[in-house]
């Protein structure tokens, strides 16, 4: 009964609306009703009019800038403290201090998004139409069907048309005629939309009372076949995605461990404060963000780029100061080094807590690192993950070139392999020590910038990565960049491969057990440094 009434109301509104020159102000007021069903009804009616103002009104409702004034007799949109009449668009001056915008919840937001998408189908821009058509898949507002049909008839772009037909099919699943429903369910086999998968699964599933949600056998069979088809098509996507997540975790481990591979691997310093260099790098990013927000809001999106040299310099300077001030007195005494650097790490954490507070600070992803590439099936490869993989490889290439292709790199390798001999041939070993430690710390700082884009920035940031970093370096073999790289990507992939099978907790344990067994068998790690080492 309600259904038919609604259809009738919709049909009426659809027929009558074009006769009016403009929107009826009274039709906007139910948007503020107490009862959400009434509000949804009002949204549907407004959408059906296809008046140009409707998109503005619904947009304002969605971002909570629509409200009522004059005791609820007039709807206004407030932007930057200025009111405009929602229906006519006329400016009304400053908003009163007591202005309270209307609230929306997820249900209304979904409804509004579908409505706005339907209204955008008339857009001259094909990309806008395509996005709108995609957004309509999985909507359950069958009232939109005439608008979609209209759009299909007018559509010239084959891609948009294809998506629109799928949207029309998903809306037609609500049709009272089972034959039409079955056809719609069969048509949907071509869709990769996650919402469509959800709608189809709901059709074949049983309700809590044991009856099928879809009464007709044919529709269920069609939906079942479509689902199987979609799942088969998406299987390879899911495997690819799992490989990507492994690669992504590996690149993060690599960035976290690369600095340590230099300080521990090449210099043999067990630097427990390594994690804190990551943390300092992340906080430098936070400060750079603050500077950009304050002084260069126009270039805000590029603060991350500016943070890279800043983080490198800050952490490298702190690292060199640590090396000159503390560590150089402790060379050849690994146990004391370990304790001292641990103490330094506690100092740095507490200093950070006193300066910035115990709470995490907010580091916003710039626009070009937010969101991702949508691949089929509603899966998304986030831009920040891609950027971090690329960045990790760039840093790796830079470090490799520096160590293997420059004169400084030659000194570093010389001092690593035989300090006394290097000193005899005139290499300033103390200066090389300082520079190498500075480089390792600086690379850790770069890692910190990357970590700030995916996780917490807080005083304890470093603690979360120190164990993983040591794991990667020890597994890869001390003194070998190649080992570090393979260990990082290997551990990342293993962890991500195990996680769906065993859960995150067990996966972590299994990785640790694997490393213990591996180190038992091969204490020197994946790659051992060959040749003579005077300080071994």
């Amino acid at each position: 009964m309600f259904q038919t009434l609604r259809l009738l109301a919709f049909a009426l509104a659809f027929l009558v609306a074009p006769a009016w020159a403009a929107l009826d102000p009274a039709s906007v007021l139910p948007l503020a009703d107490e009862d959400p069903d009434v509000r949804i009804e009002a949204i549907r009616k407004l959408t059906a009019t296809q008046e140009p103002r409707v998109a503005d009104i619904l947009g304002a409702l969605s971002n909570e800038s629509l409200g009522l004034i004059d005791d609820g007799r007039r709807a206004v949109i407030v932007a930057d403290g200025r009111m405009t009449d929602a229906v006519t668009g006329a400016a009304l001056g400053a908003a009163p201090a007591s202005f309270e915008p209307l609230m929306v919840n997820n249900r209304l937001r979904g409804e509004i998004d579908a409505a706005l998408a339907a209204l955008k189908l008339a857009s001259p821009d094909a990309a806008t139409r395509l996005a709108a058509a995609r957004a309509l898949q999985g909507s359950d507002n069958e009232g939109l069907l005439p608008i979609v049909q209209q759009a299909i008839d007018k559509e010239t772009d084959p891609e948009v048309k294809g998506v629109l037909e799928l949207s029309a099919a998903s809306l037609a699943l609500r049709n009272p005629d089972p034959a039409l429903r079955a056809k719609a369910a069969a048509d949907l086999a071509r869709s990769n939309d996650p919402q469509v998968r959800q709608v189809l699964s709901a059709l074949v599933g049983k309700g809590s009372d044991g009856t099928y949600a879809e009464p007709d056998e044919r529709v269920r069979t069609a939906a079942q076949l479509s689902l199987a088809e979609i799942n088969r098509r998406l299987f390879s996507t899911e495997i690819g995605l799992a490989a990507f997540t492994g690669l992504s975790l590996g690149s993060i481990l690599l960035l976290a461990a690369l600095g340590l591979a230099i300080t521990y691997g090449l210099m043999g310093i067990i630097n427990m404060a390594h994690g804190e260099f990551l943390m300092i790098g992340a906080y430098t990013t936070y400060l750079t963000q603050g500077v950009f927000r304050q002084y260069l809001p126009a270039a805000f999106d590029w603060y991350v780029v500016a943070a890279l040299p800043a983080a490198f310099i800050v952490t490298a300077v702190i690292g060199m100061a640590l090396e000159r001030g503390v560590l150089r007195w402790l060379y050849g005494r690994p146990l004391e080094t370990l304790l001292t650097t641990w103490g330094v790490s506690l100092l740095l954490i507490q200093a950070c807590r006193s300066l910035f507070g115990a709470q995490n600070v907010e580091v916003e992803n710039p626009a070009w690192l937010s969101g991702g590439i949508a691949i089929s099936g509603g899966y998304v490869i986030p831009f920040n993950r891609i950027a971090i993989i690329v960045f990790a490889l760039l840093v790796l290439a830079a470090v490799w070139l520096l160590i293997n292709r420059t004169r400084t790199g030659l000194f570093v390798r010389g001092v690593t392999q035989n300090r006394a001999m290097a000193s005899c041939t005139g290499v300033p070993t103390h200066r090389v020590d300082m520079l190498t430690f500075g480089l390792g710390s600086g690379v850790a700082g770069l890692g910190g910038v990357a970590l700030s884009q995916i996780g917490n920035v807080g005083p304890d940031l470093g603690q979360a990565y120190i164990v993983d970093s040591f794991m990667v370096v020890v597994l890869g073999g001390v003194g070998q960049l190649a080992g570090t790289v393979i260990a990082a990507f290997g551990l990342g992939s293993i962890a991500k491969f195990l996680e769906p099978l065993s859960g995150a907790v067990l996966a972590k344990i299994m990785v640790l057990v694997f490393i213990i067994l591996f180190i038992q068998k091969r204490p020197q790690g994946l790659f051992a440094l060959k040749g003579r080492s005077a300080e071994a």
Partner: protein
């Protein structure tokens, strides 16, 4: 030892002249109050604000004449997110500092660790955080929510038409006692509502887990089987990477809403909230509530933060456990005034039935029997500015059920401490 004295000295500043007044006889002796919150380690992110709230409330009470004319003297200790250290510090507060009452703990494991100490020494603990229930002790007053005041109403809301009519449930938590017990209760509750086992997925991550790619992909896959919601009991730091991943993976609240029980205004300070609009949290208080009591509470905390030069003082927020701390201290004060002594046993007796006009806008009552507050349940959706829009609320405060009826064997448990 040094740090404690240092902090004590800091606390004493709030007392001003009161420490001098000890010379003027017994009537003016300060009443010592212990504050047991982690100021370092993983839980510092959440617990530091509670210490500040407690100090602020105590300073406010002192400024208004103290309790029965006696000033309160806060004794702050730092158990450093280290569970056994909680027990040690609690013992020190009760035996060396001889405090009359302790306000403290956040995680359930820290509360479990101090419980034997409070029972042995007959101390008094006020615990301000929502928790899993299954506990009722004579020496503890619980001012946070029990499962029926948070988890169950939130799940009911998600199942309702307004909440999206969820059919499948992804229970995601950190691996420790609170999420495990809460999910056990929720699973039993969902089953009683006719939800099949295949429509419930339980996933746990280690403390400090930071890579949520696989889990978010699994949520997407799970959601393709029907209208899904995620019920998150992720605690502490891990929430930031989880929500960042959600935002980047394009999982919108209108498709798959996430309701969290441990995420409030304070936790959202570390996150860019724009992609999270519409995700939910269930609490008994939100900073965005509009009423005179709440306005006064927020103003008081802002001024306190500025005066104490807290980091980011101009942007401080209030949250549910802070409100619970504030309410707890005031109720204890009223109970002391009713009992006319700060001794533990008379105060416990006087606590029964205490009421207080709380910032949540309701007159909250301490239950006559079960040591839990009657609290209203509010469900909020995240706004772009990191605050919450209240989209659903109970008609009034509801009574806590510390022994959840959804766990077998609980029906025989007594409703008051034994």
């Amino acid at each position: 030892m040094d740090r404690r004295q240092f902090i004590q000295a800091g606390g004493a500043v709030a007392l001003g002249a009161s420490s001098i007044s000890t010379a003027f006889g017994q009537a003016k002796t300060p009443i010592k109050v212990g504050i047991l919150h982690s100021l370092s380690g993983t839980m510092a992110i959440s617990e530091t604000a509670l210490k500040e709230t407690a100090l602020m409330t105590i300073a406010d009470i002192n400024a208004k004449g103290g309790v029965m004319g006696r000033p309160l003297e806060p004794v702050v200790v730092d158990p450093a997110s280290n569970w056994p250290l909680f027990a040690e510090k609690a013992r020190q507060l009760l035996t060396q500092d001889k405090v009359s009452v302790v306000f403290g703990c956040w995680t359930s494991v820290s509360r479990k660790s101090v419980l034997p100490v409070f029972k042995e020494l007959n101390g008094l603990l006020f615990y301000p955080v929502q928790y899993e229930g299954e506990e009722l002790e004579k020496n503890v007053f619980y001012t946070g929510a029990a499962p029926n005041q948070q988890a169950i109403p939130a799940t009911e809301y998600l199942m309702s038409k307004e909440g999206g009519g969820a059919k499948r449930f992804f229970l995601l938590g950190t691996d420790y006692v609170y999420p495990r017990t809460t999910n056990k209760i929720l699973r039993a509750f969902l089953k009683s509502k006719g939800v099949a086992d295949k429509d419930i997925e339980e996933v746990y991550t280690p403390f400090g887990h930071s890579d949520y790619q696989t889990i978010v992909a699994n949520i997407k896959k799970f959601a393709s089987g029907g209208k899904t919601c995620v019920i998150s009991t992720i605690n502490g730091d891990s929430n930031v990477p989880f929500y960042k991943e959600l935002g980047n993976a394009g999982l919108k609240a209108k498709d798959v809403p996430v309701v969290a029980f441990s995420v409030g205004e304070e936790e959202l300070r570390g996150v860019d909230t724009k992609p999270l609009v519409g995700h939910l949290a269930a609490w008994n208080y939100f900073m965005s509530l509009k009423n005179p009591k709440n306005d006064a509470f927020i103003k008081m905390y802002r001024e306190w933060a500025l005066k104490q030069k807290l980091p980011n003082a101009e942007k401080v927020v209030t949250n549910d456990p802070m409100e619970a701390t504030f309410v707890g201290i005031h109720m204890w004060k009223q109970a002391v005034e009713k009992a006319k002594t700060a001794d533990v046993d008379p105060v416990i007796a006087a606590m029964a039935g205490q009421t207080f006009d709380a910032p949540c806008g309701y007159k909250l009552k301490m239950d006559e029997k079960n040591h839990h507050l009657h609290k209203p349940v509010l469900i909020g959706e995240v706004r772009a500015d990191g605050q919450f829009n209240v989209v659903w609320r109970t008609k009034g405060p509801i009574r806590a059920q510390p022994w959840s009826p959804f766990i077998p064997g609980n029906e025989k448990k007594p409703d008051s401490p034994v």
